[in-house]
Symmetry: C2
């Protein structure tokens, strides 16, 4: 509910749902949960998600086709690297960032004149509680 200032109605609905959720949600999970508020079609969700990702309020988890609210808005998205640890049992996602990894990958890219636009780093496994 925080910085909804610039957000449109659909974007706010989607962001608020994601923020309140205990774990990642798929686009269709979101759609199901937002039918009450008048959303009816997948595109309404996907468009909101697209915008939210652009402004780094939401991240997409590539390995599970789902989405999470950013844990620290305006924080480490700027660093260019956001990483996730995903518990395959309880579904909890931990977002983190690591300078060393980031630097290392930047060096790899630089050596090869590779221009990075987006990096996704996802660790799957079992969290402390579930392991």
């Amino acid at each position: 509910m925080a910085q909804d200032l610039k957000l449109t109605k659909n974007q706010s609905l989607v962001f608020d749902k994601l923020s309140a959720a205990p774990g990642p949600l798929s686009a269709y999970d979101l759609l199901d949960q937002l039918r009450d508020q008048g959303l009816k079609a997948p595109l309404q969700i996907y468009r909101a998600l697209e915008k939210l990702q652009e402004i780094d309020l939401v991240h997409r988890l590539e390995s599970m086709n789902s989405f999470v609210a950013c844990a620290q808005p305006n924080c480490h998205a700027k660093t260019g690297l956001v990483a996730f640890a995903i518990c395959e049992k309880c579904g909890v996602v931990s977002e983190f960032s690591d300078e060393v990894v980031q630097t290392r990958l930047a060096a790899w890219a630089d050596e090869r004149s590779f221009t990075t636009t987006k990096t996704s780093l996802e660790i799957r496994g079992l969290c402390q509680g579930c392991g």
Copy 2:
């Protein structure tokens, strides 16, 4: 065509196609290309891919729902970390591995008693030729 020794017919067909391809292929790309050889249903492809991934001959690119043959079979899959740089223009995928990144992620996990089963690391952008 290399170590097909243990592979079944479908697995070989899929692996050979992927090995010969200049870039990643989706399951349905593979299906289209293998209809001549008698494959008819998506499941035949997915099952072969599943097995090939288990034995580390094939990797899945999470960020694009497609698959590549492993560049160095029996090599850095063992290290527990395989990374990919994907050119969004020409589609070329570079597979690499990095000890430092791997160590760093292992440390992160260890500190939190997170048991890693699989890590995916994908860098998207433009390769030297396309940048």
